[in-house]
């Protein structure tokens, strides 16, 4: 199992937002769908230990997250945040940042292509891009880590319909070409159905139902839900 959550409680801003959530997420693509304030971003941040649960257990491939080296975990389970947050410098600087931390070079052009951006963008300043382009740079930056899992927090919420469709196609393509598992958080249930092999609904901080999506795969055992 990719991720297992057992009786997880988590708080944000002093209020509990996840109430006793138990969930199993297999390999493949999973959407966690829910309305604003349902706790889905907090759940995603638990998966690469950007946040800590108040109680309960979170495991990745059978091992408790707390027992794993946290920086290595974050390179293997890369998170793309909801809003673009690029570093000052060029696109190439941004894409190369993560690998640079472990003295690894990257082929920026290949990564930009994977994220659906023209390779000529490499030398552009990060602050001269549209929101959609910045979102794709965030994706390329996460892919540069060569992750096994991508955590995506509302990856298209700031985009218009056409750009959203492009990003969705890119994500499907990544899943097909690289075999990366995706855990995607969205408030858009239609998007969840379009993108995921399985959908977990999160309402009021409780995982209440899991629907197998349209693209059933061999690993799509319905996740255990409380």
């Amino acid at each position: 199992m990719l991720f297992e959550l057992e009786r997880v409680r988590a708080s944000r801003g002093g209020a509990e937002v996840l109430h006793d959530v138990s969930l199993a997420l297999p390999e493949g693509s999973t959407c966690i769908a829910g309305s604003s304030g349902s706790g889905k971003s907090t759940l995603l941040r638990l998966l690469n230990r950007l946040a800590e649960p108040d109680s309960g257990r979170v495991a990745y491939r059978g091992r408790e997250l707390a027992s794993l080296e946290v920086l290595a975990l974050r390179r293997e389970v890369a998170l793309v945040p909801q809003l673009p947050a690029l570093l000052p410098g060029t696109i190439a600087d941004n894409v190369g940042f993560g690998p640079g931390l472990v003295d690894r070079d990257v082929e920026v052009a290949v990564l930009l292509d994977l994220a659906g951006l023209p390779t000529a963008f490499a030398e552009r300043d990060a602050d001269r891009l549209s929101t959609g382009e910045q979102q794709r740079v965030m994706l390329a930056r996460a892919l540069a880590l060569e992750p096994r899992v991508l955590l995506l927090d509302e990856p298209t919420s700031a985009l218009d319909e056409r750009t959203r469709d492009h990003v969705e196609e890119t994500l499907k393509e990544l899943r097909r070409r690289l075999g990366i598992s995706l855990v995607l958080v969205t408030h858009d249930f239609a998007q969840a159905e379009r993108l995921a092999e399985r959908v977990v609904r999160l309402e009021g901080g409780r995982a209440i139902v899991a629907d197998p999506g349209p693209e059933r795969t061999s690993v799509s055992t319905p996740p255990a839900v409380r």
Binding site: V17, Q82, G98, L101, M138
Partner: protein, 261 residues
């Protein structure tokens, strides 16, 4: 010691005339600062008078241990005061206290070791007060800026942590900006000294009848000493306080972050 000046409470009281003008302006323009001005006047009178007696006692005792205790007391009070200005920093008091003690010890120690001043209360007490006061202001500005920057840049910090960066790597760009904001005001005032304003020590010495070049030399020593001490205090406070924004697992503490659920 023969007093260079003969100043009584009548003269001090006369100086309040200008404060009265400030209060009148505040009332006229409805600035609502008259309460603050009254508190500032009262506190400065009480605090300076009290410290005057304490300094007189320390001078008379001529005991270096008393000097150290006095400067350490100033550092504790300074750290306590500065902590309130750095409210958005999770742990500020201990870093500020260490910063002020280190700045005071390093600066005064160096000046004594180099033979610039002899280790006597009449030098160490006023110089220590200046070092602690200026260091406190600089460290408070730097920490306040650090808190604001972390709160304002939490998305960038978390995005950097999510790429496998350590807490230190994620906060590094912000540290630079915070340190600069602590030290730049004194650098600027050092650049303009003698042109736009006359610093206090020099004015005091000239008023007390010292030769202008003697006053200038002492003032230069003080300026250079303060530049060194505010840099030490800002760097120390910021480097120690930055850890408090993160957990040991390189997570940004929630106090600085305002994130979606």
């Amino acid at each position: 010691m023969t007093p260079a000046l003969d100043i009584g409470f009548a003269e001090v009281g006369a100086a309040l005339g200008l404060v009265a003008v400030a209060v009148l302006v505040s009332l006229w323009q409805r600035m609502r600062l008259e309460g603050d001005i009254a508190v500032a006047v009262a506190r400065s009178f009480v605090q300076l008078t009290a410290v005057g007696f304490v300094i007189q006692l320390v001078f008379e005792q001529d005991d270096l241990l008393l000097v150290v205790a006095l400067i350490a007391g100033m550092a504790v009070f300074g750290a306590f005061t500065a902590r309130r200005r750095a409210a958005s920093v999770p742990v500020a008091f201990a870093p500020l206290l260490v910063a002020l003690l280190l700045a005071g010890a390093a600066t005064l120690g160096l000046l004594v070791a180099l033979g610039v001043f002899s280790a006597e209360p009449r030098y160490l007490v006023p110089l220590g007060g200046m070092v602690v006061g200026n260091s406190m202001t600089a460290a408070a500005v730097a920490l306040s800026r650090l808190g604001d920057e972390v709160t304002g840049s939490w998305r960038e910090i978390e995005a950097t942590l999510a790429l496998g960066a350590t807490a230190g790597q994620a906060i590094r760009p912000i540290l630079r900006r915070s340190l600069r904001s602590g030290v730049i005001p004194l650098i600027d005032s050092t650049k303009t000294t003698g042109v736009i304003f006359f610093p206090g020590i020099m004015v005091g010495l000239l008023v007390a009848g010292a030769a202008p070049l003697d006053a200038v030399r002492l003032q230069l020593i003080i300026l250079y000493m303060l530049l060194g001490s505010v840099t030490i205090s800002s760097v120390t406070a910021v480097m120690l306080a930055q850890r408090s924004f993160f957990t040991p697992a390189h997570q940004l503490r929630e106090v600085a972050a305002r994130v979606a659920t």
